[in-house]
Symmetry: C2
Subunit: 515 residues, 2 copies
């Protein structure tokens, strides 16, 4: 076998059987090797930002890494923004970046660039498979790195001659996924002591926003009177009926300060202490009250679920205590004008059980969260790193991971235009994704921010940079161009009809909600 075959074998043996790809010439031997491995599912993205975003969505739902295949430095560069989001989401991922043959690098051929410098900011681990004999071990190391809790971005550079050269080296095996290290007794005792007092808030991030850990956090809160909150941006939250409801730290600085006012002790469970998304003149950068004590119960890579269980035990919280799970209560479908709130109500009214909601609605989606606290149980995935263009590929990758579940993408128009090519992959793979475009024809969030900086009424240059209305994007045509059926709606009643139809069917559909 050659190095490329060794890579395929090692990936498959390590449980990686999906490869999101946009290959080029230097990756052709790997493509040929993938072609000899029908167990590997190869999913093409028309642009590398789609490729890495799909791998992020896949990892969030499958809870294991996919591979990506990227073409040299520029291909990696195109994928970086969604790698940034994936890194913030702590998604495991193994990127295979093809490189020129080792001896060809010295020629500075047109596609040559400094891959290490490009990869480093968005990768936790970088490895170079410089010879055919080292490919398998490097790949096993990459898998191990990706699986390191809470999830890491591993980037493996595969020079073309390492891919095409023959190897008789034994295949290496990635070690089994490592368990997250347990939290020490001192941290648990300190958190327990804080929770015996007043004004404690458990700030949750990562895996404790799901399953028994979330229930346990709910019981601790119920028993102690502590508040529960999630970070502002979260990779995945289980919510809706039957789940313990958690609010999130608001995006707007003033709202966040208000939400955290009165907190005496902030107890971090897989979360970071909250900071402002952006700096503003005269506003604070950290959001907890200055006098609040900040305790870490569990770092993001530690066993937060185990720590919560130990904490509940330490506090003597009864296992049968009601954690305060949400009941099921849907709103009536909205009628009348089409507003962001009407979209939230329509989704809350119509979403099926166990839908996967991918939210890149930016300013338009702020009503969604509260209207769906008692919706049917669902997973809620967000843009985590602020690099827009996350949503369409995130939904695509989530749908690959969850073939039996309906994926609903709540999508700001400006952000969707970064990676609208993902619609084509949805069509090609017949994925069950309903995308709702919040078509307000502007970077709406930036109008608010421009006002925040005291710039007065926007003039021509500002409008030329913030408006998307001249010409308006024809979302129905765009979606159809990518092979996805689409509907345009201008009032809430039409939205409800279109959404009901899309959710009743299978396969991709796009609804342009003209706001």
């Amino acid at each position: 076998m050659n190095g490329a075959d060794a890579l395929c074998e090692t990936l498959l043996a390590g449980g990686i059987d999906v490869c999101f790809a946009n290959p080029g010439t230097s990756e052709m031997h790997f493509v040929a090797a993938l072609d000899r491995q029908p167990r590997m599912r190869c999913v093409l993205g028309l642009f590398e930002g789609v490729v890495t975003g799909m791998a992020d969505g896949y990892a969030r739902m499958a809870e294991r890494p996919a591979a990506t295949l990227l073409h040299l430095g520029p291909g990696l560069a195109n994928g970086l923004a969604n790698l940034h989001n994936a890194r913030r989401a702590r998604s495991p991922m193994v990127n295979v970046v093809g490189d020129h043959a080792t001896y060809h690098r010295a020629h500075d051929a047109p596609l040559h660039s400094d891959i290490e410098s490009l990869a480093r900011p968005m990768s936790h681990w970088i490895g170079w498979a410089e010879t055919p004999d080292s490919v398998s071990q490097t790949a096993a190391d990459a898998i191990a790195a990706a699986r390191t809790p809470p999830g890491r971005i591993a980037t493996l550079v595969l020079p073309a001659d390492a891919a095409w050269g023959e190897t008789a080296a034994p295949l290496a095996a990635a070690p089994p996924p490592a368990a997250a290290p347990a939290v020490g007794r001192e941290a648990i005792a300190a958190a327990a002591q804080a929770l015996r007092g007043k004004g404690a808030l458990l700030l949750l991030g990562g895996a404790v926003l799901r399953g028994p850990a979330l229930d346990c956090a709910g019981r601790i809160a119920a028993a102690t009177g502590a508040r529960l909150m999630a970070q502002q941006s979260n990779a995945r939250i289980e919510r809706g009926a039957g789940r313990v409801p958690v609010s999130r730290v608001p995006y707007v600085v003033e709202h966040a300060l208000a939400a955290l006012a009165g907190v005496g002790t902030l107890i971090l469970v897989g979360a970071k202490a909250p900071v402002a998304f952006f700096a503003y003149p005269g506003k604070p950068g950290t959001l907890a009250p200055p006098e609040a004590r900040i305790l870490t119960l569990a770092e993001p890579g530690e066993d937060g679920a185990g720590a919560l269980a130990a904490l509940a035990e330490e506090l003597g919280v009864a296992a049968g205590l009601d954690p305060g799970r949400a009941g099921l209560a849907r709103p009536a479908p909205p009628t009348g004008a089409l507003t962001p709130e009407a979209v939230a109500l329509a989704v809350a009214a119509l979403m099926p059980e166990h839908a996967v909601i991918c939210d890149e609605s930016v300013s338009s989606g702020r009503d969604f969260f509260r209207h769906t606290a008692t919706a049917p149980p669902h997973d809620f995935l967000q843009i985590t790193g602020g690099a827009i263009g996350c949503g369409p590929p995130l939904a695509t990758g989530a749908a690959i991971a969850c073939p039996g579940r309906k994926v609903i993408a709540l999508q700001a128009d400006g952000s969707a235009l970064y990676t609208a090519q993902a619609l084509w992959t949805q069509a090609r793979e017949s994925l069950d994704v309903t995308t709702i475009i919040f078509s307000n024809r502007r970077y709406a969030i930036l109008y608010g921010e421009l006002k925040n900086v005291g710039a007065g009424d926007p003039g021509r240059n500002a409008r030329r940079m913030l408006d998307l209305d001249d010409p308006p994007i024809g979302w129905v045509r765009l979606a159809e161009g990518f092979g996805v059926p689409a509907t345009r709606v201008e009032d809430a009643d039409a939205l409800v009809r279109a959404l009901a139809a899309a959710l009743a069917g299978r396969g991709p559909h796009l609804i342009e909600a003209v706001l």
Copy 2:
């Protein structure tokens, strides 16, 4: 004024009056400052790869830098692939990358990343405007860096607090554009000596592919019997009737070896010694015959035009000697089947004088060059760095630079899908661009490369990564979704009609040529 105002003033004083932009919150003070400066033309790209690609196309035609405005590390990352192409094209450019306020960086807010590591591989110069008082001088330095011959990528990081803070520091002025340094006498004498012998080839790159320099190269070749050739990838060539025709080093290794066979001395004039675009098992990486001597007459940053003039004088070449300019001869418009060659013939038959041809046709466009040697005079711009997705924004930026000229984009379908959003900017700015999509519904070049690696007939996984036919892209709908009228043609006669109509009108148009 604040730091953002100082930046605007310094850019304008330095002759930069076009800003290609996709701003975010951290850039709002700069947006507000641009809004106070109607002399600055702000052009929105829906994605940063469009933004940097437009600035590249603009610089190639305007021969001066534009500014770009990019949002933090991820916004820069999205623009890197086309910065890579621009760097290879030696296009001058000043990128303004907004950053968090200096004191906010320590908080590792969601959009924080290592901007320096991201910027370094594609930037010749990086500067940090860390305080309001230092913004103007840093901007002046950036302009000077960008204008350094032959053209450089300058990246200026602008923290939000440097933008919003007040400054009374005097405005700095960029020095006037520096002349390219003259070539030493030894290099001219050595080249002259080589040209007095046999088997010399002048390999041209950069500005000597235009104007009097190209004429001069033609006279030297005519007087000495030397051959003329351009690099494989070139930022801009003046060609067609009235210009000295130059062939290019072929892309395919075997063709390049054949084209360069028999060369005794390769004389580089603003060019690099030719290397293979990719490495292949058993094929050489350098393309000149191993026994050929390689002389450098002028480095890319040196005064190649002056060097050629001095060389002509040294050789006693008569100023009135016929440099071998091409005559005007158009082919008949093609009829019958629609092939890549038919597209080339149709463009050659119909293109107006002084068109700007932007070529990212990849494998489909290889017939174009020879069929247009005697077409009306035109500029020919290519993808230079191999990072696909260059073409649509390149054409857009070129059209901004040349409002009176018809821009014709020859565009491979797979590559166009990287940055199709540029069509929207063409519609918004009413740019006179006719785009012809070579719609072969596959990454055709990769089929050839897969065959080259001996992979046999492609199977399911290879086809899933190389084909774009399931579903086919609906280019007419896609273009219309972006506000650009479009036509689909399936035979040469229909192409000729559609192209004639598009060229007769003004404004953007897209033709899907189904191959």
